[in-house]
């Protein structure tokens, strides 16, 4: 059966940690990195589990700063 697989690249230097993407991800795969800040002093978001990502783009679409790049493809396993 073919499965949809996704992956995201988060520009953590551009991210301000607003966490709107965290709420938008249907699988809860994103989180604000605990006790970390980027070079501008903002907390930033990471994907803590990328295996279940389907590349639905919800996180990217709600991101006000355009920090998230999304890839999607199909596998046959």
């Amino acid at each position: 059966m073919s499965k949809i697989k996704g992956a995201v690249i988060i520009d953590t230097d551009r991210c301000k940690g607003c966490a709107l993407c965290v709420a938008a991800c249907p699988f809860g795969l994103l989180e604000v990195a605990p006790r970390r800040v980027n070079r501008k002093g903002y907390p930033y978001v990471i994907q803590h589990d990328d295996d279940r990502c389907t590349g639905c783009a919800s996180c990217g679409i709600v991101c006000p700063d355009g920090c998230i790049e999304i890839y999607r493809t199909k596998t046959e396993d």
């Binding site: 709107l20 006000p64 493809t73």
Partner: protein, 253 residues
């Protein structure tokens, strides 16, 4: 399949719009302005109008919009963007001319320009970012502030007796013979963002097809001014702002 197999150029489905510059935006974390900037960039890109677009910046938090989208821009004095847009479009009728204005800019100090440009049927689009307060100057009450909402200048909540009633300028625009397309949208979730993009596209197409005037209001959050987290601000808007300002197309002729 590894992450590296998925991250290939042919699998790219979403990215920062190419018309959005790499320079970081000064907006507060979670501010709706950024989402709307992205939509405008995407629509201009999809309509292939990057070289033919003139945006007019407001005074307000979006005063630096010209730094963020790679099209031509002019900076207007507070509230005067529709007057500048009128001149641009009349001098260069083949250009996509739009204003980008907050509620303090469009519905308070610039009310006169807004109403007359709209009612003259100028072939322009007004993008109206209504976050119900003056964001840039510290969250003061605006004409658009709902009754009961607390702001820096009505700390006990807006009262009709003292402060008058919220001004619904977009409903007013829809009643004017000069307007072609008037829509109210929001950008608080994925579905709303998709709809807002379609509305902006329609308004821009009208402007290019000699149909005007067009206005797209985006109900927005100013989480910093509202003193809430970005997520809470979206929820608060759904509960308190949507019942005052009706979402959807108000006029489409």
């Amino acid at each position: 399949m590894t992450r590296e197999d998925i991250i290939q150029p042919q699998n790219l489905v979403y990215a920062k719009p190419s018309l959005m510059n790499d320079v970081g935006m000064h907006y507060c974390p979670g501010c709706s302005h950024g989402v709307v900037h992205k939509l405008i960039a995407e629509v201009i890109e999809e309509m292939n109008l990057a070289d033919k677009t003139i945006g007019i910046c407001p005074v307000g938090c979006a005063v630096f919009a010209y730094r963020y989208l790679d099209v031509d821009w002019l900076e207007a004095a507070h509230g005067r963007a529709p007057a500048i847009a009128t001149a641009c479009k009349r001098l260069w009728p083949d250009r996509l001319v739009f204003t980008y204005q907050g509620d303090g800019d469009l519905a308070c100090i610039g009310t006169c320009e807004t109403i007359h440009a709209l009612n003259r049927g100028e072939k322009i689009t007004l993008i109206f970012i209504n976050n119900a307060i003056y964001g840039m100057t510290g969250g003061q009450m605006a004409p658009t502030t709902p009754l009961g909402m607390k702001t820096a200048t009505c700390p006990y909540g807006r009262e009709a007796e003292l402060h008058g009633y919220p001004l619904n300028i977009t409903d007013m625009a829809a009643t004017m013979p000069g307007t072609a397309y008037v829509s109210r949208q929001s950008v608080h979730n994925v579905a709303a963002i998709r709809k807002a993009k379609r509305a902006i596209r329609k308004a821009f197409e009208n402007s290019m097809n000699g149909r005007g005037s067009n206005m797209v209001e985006i109900l927005s959050t100013c989480n910093a001014g509202w003193k809430m987290t970005p997520l809470k601000a979206n929820q608060w808007m759904e509960e308190n702002i949507f019942k005052l300002y009706r979402l959807g197309d108000l006029k489409d002729e």
